[in-house]
Amino acid sequence: MEMLRLGDSALTCVFSKTEWQEGKHKVLMKRLGDHGVAGGYLLDIVVSFGRVSVYWDVRKKRLLEVEELLVGMVEEEGVGEVLEVSEGRYWDFPVCYDGLYGLDLEDCARESGLSQEEVVRCHEAEEYEVLLIGFLPGFPFMGHTVPSLNFRRRKTPRVGVPSGSVAVAGGLTAIYPWESPGGWHILGVCPVPLFCPERGEDACLLRVGDKVKFRGVGVDEYRDMCGEMLREGYDLEVLLRE
């Protein structure tokens, strides 16, 4: 495990492929959890691909102390029980791939040498697994796209990616739950509200391990769904596959 410093109040632990497969990161997270996140000096944990970022209260701990502590946690014998990965649920999400919303369809077609229709078909064909949630509230990183849709991020990120945008980059696909700056390539738009503060602690709809398949819908159908899904009492579980 290598540690990258993120200023004086955070660092990122980088695990090798072998360490990740062995579940070293789960050991670390379990022990950090036992240690108490959001209480004491530990403020937050962010898990990403092969990495775990740890945040602490700069008033209470120093970098060197935290580094020492984390190394101890990973190296300590007796792995014990690791974090259980939740049983994934299967979702069918409608996506409107119309050029009105798929702002980068043309660029993606050009770059991949496929037609726009083929780009859409490639995106629809796969079933994606939610690998992590982050970047924005409820933002799912899902993998993996077929190699032909594996594009690098845009050189200049967009100032405003419209909310609901379904995008691809780096072999992954995602849905932007909110309008935000972003550097991924936009293929379409999805009407499903992924993060609702009204749901309290369950505000975030998707969980790591869930599976998502996209189904193309027309512009009119998409617009109807937008209104419908935001209606009070609408049960998003109808989107679950049997």
């Binding site: 200023g7 004086d8 996140v37 959001a38 962010v46 970022s53 949630i133 990183f141 550097g183 993060f195």
Partner: protein, 347 residues
């Protein structure tokens, strides 16, 4: 029941902010919180509030507020001042930042432009009445978490007016255009030359800044290893460089994860200064090690601890001069004019 305050004219990008929402990065929920936490803490101290009580934050220009019901004792924190107007609209008095003042029913407060920095706060005695979400009152605009600033704002309690005239005279905004940074996790993506440019040259802040971050214009920073790194955790203050080569300093509402190389991270002690940068500011970075970062933070905390709240008693007593500075230490038992000196107490 608290007092009711009507927003007659909005300030720019107004939002309620406290220390922020901690512990939910894992669901992608940004930290949010006051861009200049020190202003929040010092303002609350003047009012006798918990120092992490939420304040009303705004950029560049403050709002025009009218108390519709009750009485409110407030403090402005930032490089700005305000006019308190009577029911007839005439200016009753002008008040600067870091001094508490009362506004009665029917009176209004016109908060002016931020003269120093870009961000200011309005704090009220007893706190604003807000709804908490995931343990914080901070508003996060993109997902509408927390209380939206509406037409009517409420305070938790009606002021009895006794906290009027408290102030902090030794607080100085002391804003820095040059801030200290530590090398970032991908500093080695950049050539020696690019790192030299980062550490020594001047950048200009673009006008599109918001609570998420600010973009800098200047000499481009070229990465030798490309601009795609695996998405990993971010932190307010981190400086990422996308393919354009122009750095972006992220702030409190920043995304929790990102995949651009990060050349540096602003140290905790200096983060408030970045929050106060505005479009057109010429800014620069000084690279320091972790020892210096913690020392800077210790010094900041020590300075903060030494900030005293004084009672400007001549205002209320109608005295024009107390013989000295005109201020007395409100925390001292002998602060009242004419109070007995130690050892003089009579039986």
């Amino acid at each position: 029941m608290g007092s009711k305050v009507r927003v007659l004219r909005e300030g720019m990008m107004m939002s309620f902010q406290d220390r922020g929402r901690l512990g939910f990065y894992g669901s992608g929920v940004p930290r949010s919180g006051a861009l200049d936490e020190q202003l929040l803490r010092m303002g609350n101290r003047i009012l006798g509030n918990d120092e992490e009580e939420a304040g009303l934050e705004f950029f560049y220009r403050g709002p025009l507020l009218r108390v519709d019901e009750g009485e409110v004792c407030m403090v402005l924190a930032g490089g700005l001042g305000c006019e308190v107007r009577g029911r007839d609209g005439s200016v009753r008095k002008r008040v600067d930042s870091f001094e508490s003042f009362c506004v009665r029913s029917g009176e209004s407060v016109d908060v002016g432009e931020v003269r120093e920095g870009t961000v200011g706060y309005i704090l009220v005695e007893g706190g604003w009445k807000l709804e908490s979400f995931l343990g914080s009152f901070s508003f996060y605009g993109r997902a509408k978490l927390g209380t939206v600033v509406g037409d009517i704002l409420e305070t938790r309690s009606v002021s009895d007016g006794r906290r009027e005239g408290y102030c902090m005279v030794d607080f100085c905004m002391g804003l820095r255009k040059k801030v200290r940074v530590m090398w970032g996790p991908q500093a080695d993506y950049f050539s020696e030359e690019a790192r030299e440019i980062f550490a020594t040259s001047c950048f200009e802040v673009e006008s599109t800044r918001d609570r998420m971050g600010l973009r800098l214009k200047g000499a481009g920073l070229e990465s030798e290893k490309g601009y795609d790194v695996r998405s990993e955790g971010l932190v307010p203050g981190v400086i990422q460089v996308p393919g354009s080569g122009h750095p972006i300093v992220l702030l409190n509402d920043c995304q929790t994860m990102g995949g651009y190389p990060k050349i540096g991270t602003v140290i905790s002690a200096d983060l408030r200064h970045v929050g106060q940068w505005g479009g057109g500011d010429k800014v620069s970075f000084e690279v320091v090690g972790e020892e210096e970062a913690y020392e800077a933070f210790r010094v900041l905390m020590e300075e903060e601890a030494g900030m005293k709240v004084l009672e400007r008693s001549y205002d209320r007593l109608g005295l024009s001069d107390l013989g000295g500075t005109g201020f007395v230490d409100a925390l001292s038992p002998f602060h009242f004019p004419g109070s007995l000196e130690e050892g003089e107490e009579s039986e």
